[in-house]
């Protein structure tokens, strides 16, 4: 039907980069050894896992001994949150998170609540940012853990993680950051920022699915949630996913390279071009999240008088892959809790759209998306009883 395909859903997942795939391939059939074996097959696999650990650590300024590999970002979030809460439950039972976290964090906190912990959920402002004073006033003498995402997946806004880290560091509270959307996309240093634990995911940065990483600052004690053979310093038992971990290492290398060759700056230019095109050429179209304090590849909107799923399917028919936080795409009747937490009305939240650019996105892609979206919005508004400005 369409001659052009433009994938703009990199917040959902990215394609494994060719260099990453090449790095992984030998570790399926040739170098298939179990990294825990003493023989040559095992030693080769162990060496590959160790090298990957160095690369992932270097991406965020950590030491290799501080990185634990997991089966993905969700598992790393669960390990960090449940692991830290249980390791410190004798010191206190109060834990803090925010209203706009990913479900992997929110649902882990709900589970902690079931286990007798007390949870405080911090509100956000209209741009999806947590207020530092809200964090300060939520902290109690028995607070043991704070978890805050680096950048939001739906609206792209950065949280004030450095300030939050300082506050937690000063009070001896463990500070976890879900960095799934941010890691590999913006340079930062966990040590300088005072982050105690950081979640990362390979498939959000041109690596394979099914591999995550958790940075745990030296000295921070957590309980494992998977028990067994004692791999990953006893914090994540199970034979290492060697090929996947090698892929994560290669993806981390690629990301580090993109920090220095101007790629991120170009991504920001293209993102801003899309934001400006959409908000200036489409009436009643609003950027969601912060205008500047946002992920370099992330542009999200609410389009008035329209519903997200209908726009997504029309975009899909034009060869464009995007996503939405509308009720119809989530399978519930409620639109995105993130947009509602920002104070956006139900009606407008139903019309949410997210375009997340990738390293191969071009200026032509942006123009193609903006032009098609404009047409699709006009076509669907001609059907919408809510759209008043018809002429």
């Amino acid at each position: 039907m369409t001659e052009r395909y433009v994938y703009m859903d990199h917040s959902a997942t990215t394609a494994v980069d060719r260099s990453v795939l090449e790095a992984m391939l030998p570790y399926f059939s040739e170098e298939f050894g179990n990294p825990n074996s003493l023989h040559i097959w095992g030693r080769k696999a162990r060496k590959a896992v160790n090298e990957a650990r160095e690369k992932v650590a270097a991406l965020v300024g950590a030491d290799a001994s501080e990185i634990i590999f997991t089966g993905g970002g969700s598992e790393a979030d669960n390990l960090a949150i449940k692991g830290a809460a249980f390791a410190r439950r004798d010191k206190g039972r109060h834990v803090i998170t925010t209203a706009i976290e990913h479900h992997a964090v929110i649902d882990a906190f709900h589970w902690l609540e079931d286990q007798g912990f007390e949870v405080t959920v911090l509100p956000v402002d209209e741009r999806a940012m947590v207020g530092i004073s809200d964090l300060e006033s939520a902290i109690r003498p028995d607070t043991i853990l704070v978890s805050m995402m680096y950048a939001n997946n739906e609206v792209g806004t950065f949280q004030p993680v450095a300030e939050a880290a300082r506050i937690c560091n000063d009070r001896g509270i463990i500070f976890h950051v879900d960095g799934v959307q941010a890691a590999g996309h913006i340079p930062f240093n966990v040590r300088d920022m005072g982050i105690d634990m950081l979640t990362m995911s390979a498939h959000k940065m041109y690596g394979p699915k099914g591999v995550g990483g958790l940075y745990i600052r030296k000295g921070v004690k957590i309980q494992p949630i998977v028990h067994g053979g004692g791999q990953e310093r006893g914090l994540r038992s199970g034979t290492e996913n060697t090929a996947g971990i090698v892929g994560f290492g290669a993806a981390a290398d690629l990301a580090s390279m993109r920090f220095t060759d101007g790629s991120i700056e170009e991504e920001v230019r293209l993102r801003d071009l899309l934001i400006d095109s959409v908000t200036s050429s489409i009436e009643d179209a609003y950027l969601t999240g912060h205008r500047t304090e946002r992920l370099p590849f992330h542009a999200s909107f609410c389009i008035g008088s329209l519903e997200g799923e209908s726009m997504l399917l029309r975009l899909d028919a034009a060869g464009i892959g995007a996503s939405s936080g509308s009720a119809c795409t989530s399978g519930s009747l409620e639109p995105s809790y993130v947009l509602l937490a920002m104070g956006i009305t139900h009606e407008l939240a139903h019309g949410s759209l997210r375009f997340s650019l990738g390293k191969d996105t071009t200026r032509e892609d942006i123009v193609y998306v903006a032009e098609n979206l404009k047409k699709i919005v006009a076509d669907l508004r001609a059907l919408s009883p809510l759209w008043k400005n018809r002429g």
Binding site: S305, L306, E307, G308, E309, S310, L313, R314, A317, S326, A327, C328, G331, L333, P335, H346, E347, H350, A382, L383, S384, P385, L386, R390
Partner: protein
């Protein structure tokens, strides 16, 4: 997730748009839930001679609107009232379970338009008497 028929009507809906001087208008759903369906009808001798819709909602809501307007066009009002949401779902070749409410809106939209027409007519007759 959607049948070919649903996608076909969603991409090229029939009877779409506002109608000038309708004899009856029915509006169901609410924007908070993300679905509004507005049905316009023209009636002659107790028969729906023209119909159109405006819908704010997902693909299945738009396809259900298009389908139900095609189904009732030319029917008498009583025949149109007998069309159920199940008939709409069947004509679409099925809808995912969480989208059945869209077909219900289609059924209710037709009913609301006919009720509006009958109420106006009754009021008109009483005004003349």
């Amino acid at each position: 997730m959607y049948t070919e028929k649903v996608m076909e009507l969603f991409m090229n809906p029939k009877n779409a748009g506002r109608m000038e001087d309708p004899d009856g208008v029915g509006e169901v759903g609410n924007p908070r839930c993300g679905d509004i369906m507005k049905i316009y009808i023209k009636v002659k001798d107790e028969r729906i001679v023209d119909i159109s819709f405006e819908t704010f909602g997902c693909a299945s809501a738009i396809a259900s609107s298009s389908m139900v307007t095609e189904m009732v066009k030319g029917l008498t009002l009583d025949e149109a009232l007998a069309i159920s949401n199940k008939d709409v779902v069947n004509a679409l070749g099925g809808l995912p379970p969480q989208k059945i409410h869209c077909s219900l809106l289609a059924e209710e939209g037709i009913q609301a338009a006919i009720e509006d027409y009958r109420a106006k007519r009754k009021a008109g007759v009483e005004a003349k008497a």
